[in-house]
Amino acid sequence: MDALQTLENVLQSLVAGLQMGAMYGLMCVGLTIIFGVMRVINFAQGEFMMLGMYFTYFCFSWLGAYAFLDGVWFPFVLALLAGPALFLLGMILHRLLIHTVTGRKASQLEAGGHYAQLVLTLGIALVLQNGGLFIFGSTPVSVSNELSYSAWEWGPMVGDRVSVFVNQAQTISAILALAVVIGFGLLMGKTRLGKSLRAASDNPDAATYMGINVDRAHRIAFGLGIGITAIGGGLMATNASFQPYIGTEYVIIMYAGVVLGGLGSVRGAFLGGMIIGILQQVSAIILPNQLQNTVIFVCFLAIILLRPQGIFGQRDRVA
């Protein structure tokens, strides 16, 4: 009986891990695009994810009242719309702030601008987080509907004693996350825009001589990175509650996934996020709740210390 109970727990955690992992993976892809193309570690990525969540939340509160928009599908559409919205914000922020310490400006700064970039994005993170507290309030909110509380039952199996419940909202979110990542992969691989982004990251100087506007490529990459992470946030918002400080929690998950997959690699980042999601959910079987995040930090430290190039190395990167 105990063994079966354990089996059920493990299966249940694996399913939850895959679902969360897909959403983490999507967020990681956003972070890694920015690193891959611009060589910038964006400290404020978690705050942009938070903005994606609130975008979904507020649009839902304002528009959800209209009869033709009250379907269960509506929050998911809004989550996807968070992408273009945050893409625009990202482009604007790059124009106003980020470009002063990245790209061609970076070479004039100490240590290739690394410090300036880390510190500037930290500043943006602080402003967004605490400004968010003012604008959104500190009460946790969520964008849940009946799907968040419904599950498909998988089973019963093993002599009718093991059943796994698959949350519907999370499943839809995970599928959408996967679709966005695949779509982005096609964008990078097949289109002219993707080619110019890859060229700008491979060798900014050579790309400039070839007539590619590197500054514009960076601006688009920054917008894309933020937009994609914001979609991840929006999807997450349909099944979890959040408040303005949530970014800090997730940014570590994103770093862990990205480093695990090898900084700059899109496929690596998605798989890295996936692994982190599974690890987090499975560790919950044996560890108390508060230590779930500690597991992520410890595993993050272990990866970064033992294999800083990530498990998938540096091949296959946007860069």
Binding site: T100, Y115, L126, L291, V298
Partner: protein
């Protein structure tokens, strides 16, 4: 008056003024701010002492602050230990924690280091929550208030906070003007070059993080006593690490007063605005810190201390650190003479050296000897593996196989700073100066490895500068030098370590004929001191006049060796440089390669 003494006077004046202010202010809220500000100034100094000087960005100083705070709080609750004991205890414990964090984390550089540091306080935050210390309140000790630092008036708290700050300032001031600060700055400006001139980079980074962590621990411990409540978010939270960084960056990194300035401007500003607007705008503190740091990056990336410096004394070039040493006129070039010339023989021997980078065999079963006191030229066409050979010799890269014996010791596997200490110095193909240090300080950094103190280092450095003839440029920052001066300075930096052997990498590259002649004269002077010189060069022309003997490399292997006369006529050498066809066409072997390159 030396920099250290002047600092002490400033610190003393500052403390007196602050204490007078403390007695004048009667509003209890302002008194509380006057207590908190020095604590954060200490955090800023702590961060600055490590990250500001070493250039390794720490996002994790909250780990030490929080450990200090919890140690003081829990010791008081569990064992009734008083803060007079536990704050020093927290200082020591956090120093040890710094060592524990540093040992694994210093394998990383740049982005990776910064990210790894972020994980420590956040992991601790969740661990302390899990342990059930969500909110730890320090018990009231009415029977012995003074023993437990629970004063009725706020003034003693201010005095203690000030004492802490004064200690942090004195410690910082003592450290930054001597070998400690200069070594860290060298690491910040070019870690590999620092290692090559004999700085034990790991040891200095470890001592820096230990002292820095100790200061942060003391600040955290005292913070617990002042606020009486400790929560994981308040002491391990992201904002704590961020504040330490922000005060230092805002005020000016790599300076004594910068972090203090940052804390004294930003803490009162955010506290007062918080008190006034917190009800309507709960996150106002974070927003102010965020805006402050964005503004600094955009408008004064060096911090306002440097900005003021530039405004007050325009035209002065930015020179970091400074040992405040001048040229020592008593320095004699003879100081650099190799003291006991070992019995004539072999000073360096390599056998069977191989190194491959992926599929490229950069060095292939290479063996050769360097005789004591000779001037040996290593030549070979592009890609022959010359610079790789130097990197193998001075320990930057480890050979896949083979052995290197220097003055009778096997040196494969030793770190570059050890090899430098044993008496092998080098220069670089592309000059690697410590750009923002003065020429004299650059050379002093090179001299530390065989000097007891700053004065001796300055003496050796002055001798080396005299030898290469850079006396007039000695106060300029290295970034302002010409190509020739840079190369002379690098040579002086190598010589200041009093080496037995110096590896010189393409020192003649890009020099005009006059400068080249000048350089040859300097190199002969070096040899006259009894120092063995191994020089890599591309072009044979100048080398034929200079060296005693040649080694010729091709495709990572030894092609031939011998006296200059025989080398320039060697058909193998001509073939390696100019190709088979040329050799066949010319029909004879007398035409020296020396006229070509």
């Amino acid at each position: 008056m030396s920099g250290g003494t002047r600092d002490l006077i400033h610190i003393g004046l500052f403390a007196v003024v602050y204490m007078v202010l403390a007695f004048l202010v009667s509003n209890s809220y302002y008194q509380l701010i006057m207590t908190i500000v020095p604590v954060w100034a200490v955090m800023g100094l702590s961060w600055n002492l490590f990250s500001g000087y070493s250039g390794l960005i720490s996002f994790g100083h909250a780990a030490f602050f929080g450990l200090g705070a919890y140690l003081v709080a829990l010791c008081m609750i569990v064992w009734e230990l008083n803060p007079w004991i536990t704050i020093p205890l927290a200082t020591v414990a956090c120093g040890a924690a710094g060592l524990l964090v540093g040992l694994p984390t210093f394998r990383l550089r740049g982005h990776y280091f910064a990210l790894a540091m972020l994980a420590y306080p956040l992991a601790l935050l969740y661990i302390f929550e899990w342990l059930g210390y969500q909110e730890v309140a320090l018990p009231r000790k009415e029977e012995a208030p003074v023993l437990y630092m629970q004063f009725e008036s706020q003034v003693p708290y201010i005095a203690l906070a000030l004492l802490l700050l004064v200690i942090a300032l004195v410690v910082t001031s003592r450290l930054i003007h001597c070998r400690f600060g200069m070594s860290l700055l060298a690491i910040k400006l070019d870690e590999d070059a620092a290692e090559a001139v004999g700085i034990n980079t790991l040891a200095w980074k470890l001592s820096a993080i230990m002292i820095s962590a100790a200061l942060a621990g003391a600040a955290g411990g005292f913070y617990a006593v002042v606020l009486l409540v400790v929560t994981p978010l308040a002491v391990f939270g992201m904002l704590v690490s961020a504040q330490a960084l922000i005060f230092a960056m805002f005020g000016g990194v790599g300076t004594l007063w910068g972090p203090v300035l940052g804390a004294f401007i930003l803490v009162p500003l955010s506290e007062i605005l918080y008190a006034r607007y917190a009800a309507d705008f709960p996150g106002i503190q974070g927003v102010i810190y965020g805006i402050a740091i964005i503004a600094v990056i955009l408008f004064a990336p060096q911090g306002i201390f440097w900005k003021l410096q530039v405004l007050l004394k325009p035209g002065r070039s930015l020179v970091l650190g400074a040992t405040a040493s001048g040229m020592n006129d008593r320095a004699d070039v003879g100081l650099l003479k190799v003291d006991a010339v070992p019995e004539a023989g072999v000073i360096l021997e390599a056998a069977g050296l191989s190194k491959a980078f992926g599929g490229l065999q950069a060095t292939n079963n290479l063996g050769f000897q360097v005789k004591t006191g000779e001037l040996l030229g290593i030549i070979g066409p592009n890609g022959a593996g010359k610079t790789t050979l130097f990197n193998l010799l001075n320990g930057f890269i480890r050979p896949d196989s083979g052995s290197i014996t220097f003055r009778g010791n096997a040196i494969v596997g030793k770190k570059p700073n050890r090899i430098c200490a044993m008496g092998m110095a080098r220069t670089f193909q592309v000059a690697r100066p410590f750009t923002q240090l003065s020429v004299l300080d650059n050379v002093i950094v090179g001299a530390y490895v065989h000097s007891r103190g700053n004065d001796e280092a300055a003496l050796h450095a002055s001798a080396a500068i005299k030898l290469v003839g850079l006396e007039r440029q000695c106060d300029l920052p290295a970034v302002n030098l010409t190509n020739k001066e840079l190369r002379l300075m690098e040579l002086a930096r190598a010589l200041a370590s009093k080496p037995y052997l110096v590896l010189v990498d393409e020192i003649l590259a890009g020099l005009d004929p006059d400068a080249m002649k000048e350089m040859l004269v300097v190199l002969r002077k070096v040899q006259d001191l009894g120092i063995t010189v191994v020089i890599i060069e591309h072009s044979m022309q100048a080398m034929v006049q200079l060296v005693d003997r040649f080694i010729v490399l091709d495709h990572g292997a030894l092609l031939t060796e011998g006296e200059p006369d025989s080398i320039v006529r060697d058909p193998q050498v001509i073939e390696a440089y100019l190709g088979k066809k040329w050799l066949a066409d010319s029909g004879h072997e007398q035409t020296g390669v020396a006229d070509d390159n």
